[in-house]
């Protein structure tokens, strides 16, 4: 498998007045070429900050303090801002969560698309417009010529997200980081966008990092999955294996709390307690305060261990003994 991106031991910390928030604290994963990598976790687990770290958009008081982000032999964590800028939107693109907020309300859609083309390629404005129109057509926006002249507020939420995806596709990037791009949309639109993205990724060979809290989205879309909890990856592996046989108690609980995976009539399982504050993480395993399997051994820090072929988990009491759920 050829690799598009490899993240090694990434640490992104926020130096706030209240203390150091270790939003991302030692995250590693690999994205294969043309593959979809699902980054799953609750809000506050550090998945979005991981995305921003890769694309170099962590703003003060936050900073990438350690780790490597390897892309084509270069470490994105250490290259200059100018070099990073030439990759951003060009080789690595990003789609944001709320389509209502991602497009500048006072600029026309064509302006916002053409500037993206011109930021990375010296082409005529006419050609840039042509490219913008083709991209709109590709994501399924009818009469793109007309729509180019519109302002963002004249589009619906789903349409705006399509525009944002079209912008991300303008330079045929090798990697797209999609930060919960369907969460704010209606379920039907969600399905359309997912199908669209899957088709585009397959056609263009683009790799995807799909950040989400929704396991059902990942199940149908991703090839691999990394589950994050409190700034760390607690489990990763191929998506079907992880979902069928979760090793980490947190993943186990997460899957158990998806209604469709429970048998009808059975009470819905849930993870007790709340996500801990990143300022006051419990020592050792961060999940142990909510974990049914926790004991004294969990007070020590756990490394991510290979437990099955292609499978890793950060747990001393993994669900190895059980029959697949």
């Amino acid at each position: 498998m050829t690799t598009t991106l490899e993240v090694r031991n990434l640490r992104t910390h926020f130096f706030t007045r209240a203390g150091i928030v270790k939003a991302v604290d030692g995250v590693s994963f690999t994205v294969g070429r043309g593959k979809v990598m699902g980054l799953v976790g609750e809000s506050g687990s550090g998945k979005t900050v991981t995305g921003f770290s890769i694309i170099g958009l962590v703003d003060p008081p936050g900073r990438v303090v350690e780790g490597e982000i390897l892309y084509q032999g270069r470490n994105l964590a250490t290259i200059s801002e100018e070099e990073m800028r030439h990759l951003r939107g060009n080789r690595i693109a990003m789609i944001f969560q709320d389509p209502m907020m991602t497009l500048n309300p006072v600029l026309r859609v064509d302006t916002q698309m053409i500037e993206t083309v011109l930021a990375h390629e010296k082409v005529s404005k006419e050609e840039a417009r042509q490219r913008a129109r083709d991209a709109l057509g590709m994501v399924g926006i009818p009469s793109p010529d007309e729509r180019l002249k519109s302002y963002p507020h004249q589009f619906s939420g789903g349409m705006r997200q399509r525009v944002a995806i079209a912008i991300a596709l303008l330079h045929r990037p090798e990697l797209i980081i999609a930060d919960e791009p369907t969460t704010a949309l209606d379920v039907t639109i969600q399905g359309q966008i997912l199908a669209e993205v899957q088709k585009l990724a397959a056609n263009t060979g683009t790799s995807l990092i799909w950040i989400t809290h929704d396991l059902s989205v990942v199940a149908g879309l991703a090839d691999d999955i990394a589950v994050m909890y409190a700034g760390r990856v607690v489990e990763d592996g191929p998506v079907s294996e992880v979902l069928d046989r979760p090793l980490h108690p947190y993943t186990h609980g997460l899957i158990g709390s998806v209604p469709s995976r429970n048998k009808r009539g059975e009470p819905l399982r849930q993870i007790p307690g709340m996500t801990p504050s990143l300022l006051k993480l419990p020592a050792g395993c961060a999940f142990r305060t909510r974990c049914p399997r926790a004991d004294e051994a969990c007070l020590a820090d756990q490394p991510l261990r290979a437990l099955l072929p292609g499978r890793q988990a950060r747990c001393i009491h993994p669900h190895l003994d059980e029959v697949p759920a």
Binding site: R85, R88, G89, A93
Partner: protein, 324 residues
Amino acid sequence: MTVYLLRRISQSFLVLVAMSMIVFIGVYAVGDPVEILISPDADQMERERAIQALGLDLPLWEQYGVFVWRALHGDLGRSFVYNEPALQLILQKMPATLELAFGSMFISVLIGLPLGMYAGLRPESPGSKMIMAGSILGFSLPTFWVGLMLIMVFAVQLGWLPSTGRGETAYFLGLQWSFLTANGLSHLIMPAINLALFKISLVIRLTRSGVRETMLMDYVKFARAKGLSPARVTFVHVFKNILIPVVTVVGLELGSTIAFSVVTESVFAWPGMGKLIIDSINVLDRPVIVAYLMIIVLMFITINLIVDLLYSALDPRVRLEGKA
């Protein structure tokens, strides 16, 4: 758009009617109309005749009708002092005031916008903190006193700039302007800065908070994620968004700038409408007072209308609401 335009114009018209009533009541009901409208030198016979001619024996609402009727025909009375139609007198002084007002607005944007952008983009730097402290001072300083101090330093002590008057003027569009000659410009500079002082602070604060709010927006982060240069993000994506509130406020300020030019014109003996109205109040040249008030009210309403329309042109969301 047309519906919106019509609605706005009719609103403006209502305000104009209301204000004309207030001025009318102020002049005709609160003060003694005979004293206000007839020269104090007139003898008894003349007074009687004038009272009849002015219709002061009619009931108040009829008098108001006459007042409006004559105002509509451009007749706002004659100045006692200059013995000229009050309206004409004021219109002659208007270019000087407009020149001063636009000069100071230009200066306030020229100085305030870059300083505000800097303070917004680097809020923690010592430079920004100095800018913000300066803006508090700009709000607190009494304009007229700063004007005096400017004269003291730059005219009396240093002798760099002339202290009073308009200096040489040149004709443009049939009117006299100071800014077209070097001498006139040197006369304009101090009053314009003096008048701009308050607005510089305002523009700085507005721009700074606008930049800080906009920088946090998702669309700014998305623009950066597209790989745009920092200059393009700042000067297109951020700048265009803060331009709307700043343009609105500076535009709205044109009215108050013209009003506050009363103070600056008095300090620098700038021969505009403001100096005229103060002189007229001091010698009780009441037709001029009434004419000035009516003109300034009309001006105000027009400015508010134009700013509203400009605003809707700049912000596409407003424009569409009007259409719907």
